[in-house]
């Protein structure tokens, strides 16, 4: 489904964020990427949604080179990828409902679909009673749950979650991991980065370990070794 082919990213200050990274992700797989800060995890995620470009190498999503897509095709691809970030990235001036509705509007969904699906996904993440709250009226955990609801509402093929538990307390970490795990069980591919050992232990499954821009370990049995 996803293929990173010798991807290298060198920043203008000559620092190497990714160094010939190659790996594949199969459909419905749950891949956790671990590594210290600066190991290149976030850069890797940004490459997949074309928020950053590789200096060398290619990234393929279902045989299509992500960085050679035209703008319209790129928009379509992004609608097939749900994104969850450590800093939530919610739209400040929109309510929880509107944040999720916006992702559906961008995909060309009808008003009727939006009116039925948005309350449904908010109920799934247990925020049905806060759908008209603005982001500043929500806690960190609640914001992350809105972000997850936004990521799943268009039933994407894959969800990429960059440190989704980074800003959360232990109880919320457990809640978020459970939700993401459940999404995977329902058939969505997950690519998640973290440097939290408890998260890796909770998830299990395949773990890619990164260090200084390289993938140094690809373990199918969910081991966190750093």
């Amino acid at each position: 489904m996803i293929y990173f082919d010798k991807v290298t990213r060198v920043y203008p200050d000559e620092s190497i964020a990714l160094d010939e990274v190659s790996f594949t992700v199969e459909p419905k797989e749950f891949v956790t990427i671990v590594g210290h800060s600066g190991a290149g995890k976030t850069t890797l995620m940004k490459m997949l949604i074309a928020e950053d470009r590789p200096t060398h190498g290619s990234i393929f999503f279902e045989s299509k080179n992500v960085h050679k897509l035209r703008r319209k095709e790129m928009n379509k691809l992004r609608r097939r990828i749900g994104t969850v970030f450590q800093d939530f990235r919610l739209i400040r001036d929109k309510t929880a409902y509107e944040n999720i509705a916006f992702a559906m509007e961008a995909s060309g969904k009808s008003d009727k679909e939006i009116a039925s699906d948005v309350p449904y996904v908010l109920d799934l993440v247990d925020l049905g009673d806060k759908m008209w709250n603005f982001p500043h009226q929500l806690s960190g955990g609640e914001k992350q749950r809105v972000a997850i609801a936004r990521a799943i509402v268009n039933q994407p093929d894959i969800i990429i979650a960059d440190e989704p538990t980074g800003n959360l307390d232990p109880i919320n970490i457990m809640e978020i991991v459970k939700i993401i795990h459940k999404i995977n069980e329902l058939g969505t591919t997950i690519l998640l980065t973290t440097h939290n050992k408890e998260v890796v232990d909770m998830i299990g499954g395949r773990v890619l370990t990164m260090e200084k821009g390289k993938v140094i370990r690809d373990d199918k049995n969910g081991k966190y070794i750093l």
Binding site: I49, E51, R71, K72, N75, K76, L77, R78, R79, T83, R89, L90, I91, R92, D93, F102, A103, E105, A106, S107, G108, S110, D111, R150
Partner: protein
Amino acid sequence: MLFTYLKRIIRTGFVNFWRNGFLSLAALIVLTLSLTAFGALIFGSAFGRTLVEEVKSKVDINVYFSLSAEESAILDLKKIIEQLPEVDGVEYISRDQALASFRNKWKDNTLILQGLDEIGDNPFPAVLNIMAKEPSQYAGIAGFLDGKDSLSKSGTAIIDKVNYNQNKLVIERLGRIIPAVQKGGLILAVILVIVAVIIIFNTIRLIIYNSKDEISVMKLVGASNSYIRGPFVMSGIMYGLISGILTLAVLAIFAFYSDLAILKFAGVQGTQDFSLIVNVFSSYFRQNFGEIFAIILGSGVILGAISSYLAVRRYLNV
């Protein structure tokens, strides 16, 4: 689909405008001030034009004819002068009209009228008042008259005096000053318009800069550029529309109250001597309301829309 798309863009534009609160208010104030500068330019140029036209209309060349000049010879000369390309109009005042006008002017002064009666004959010559299209053209007309030896049937010269030389200095100065004032006004207008456009553009850019993170999020959920840009352009149009209406209100208040203020300042209740200044603004506003409305609202809406369009563009490359 297109209808739903447009409906969402317009609705989001309205909602963003409302939710931006203080920023929207600040933008409205800045845009209103900038558009008022446009309005001031419109009024300034109208006032300048009126002033220049008024001064121009006071300047003319008067050709005085000898008392023995026959009317037919004068009218022949009038026809020739009217055909000169630089001549805007020629007014003929016959001897009888000049006498009647004098009597009317001094009708309350029996002493002067008695003196006139004692002379017996009509002492007033016939006059041609010549108006040029531009003050600088009077010299040419005066030259033409100097070289014109118009004679009566008896062979005597009919032109007694041309008063150009007496007014030459004033006319020449006006010929130099008026184009300079017009040129200076145009330069000032261009500078003011550029400043106003830059201020409007930067104000809207600042508002959109405030939303740059949101724009990148919208891109990452797969929204098209036009769907992201649409609501910002809509808000820009609203800034322009509302500030345009506010500006028209400010200009209307100025136009109708400045006349009274000028009269009050001059310490008069209203007299024909002040007709030059008084009512220029209010009558200009009334007569040209459609044009002013279109310029102010049109500039506001177009500037608001274009500024928003350009300001969003730089954040869409995600």
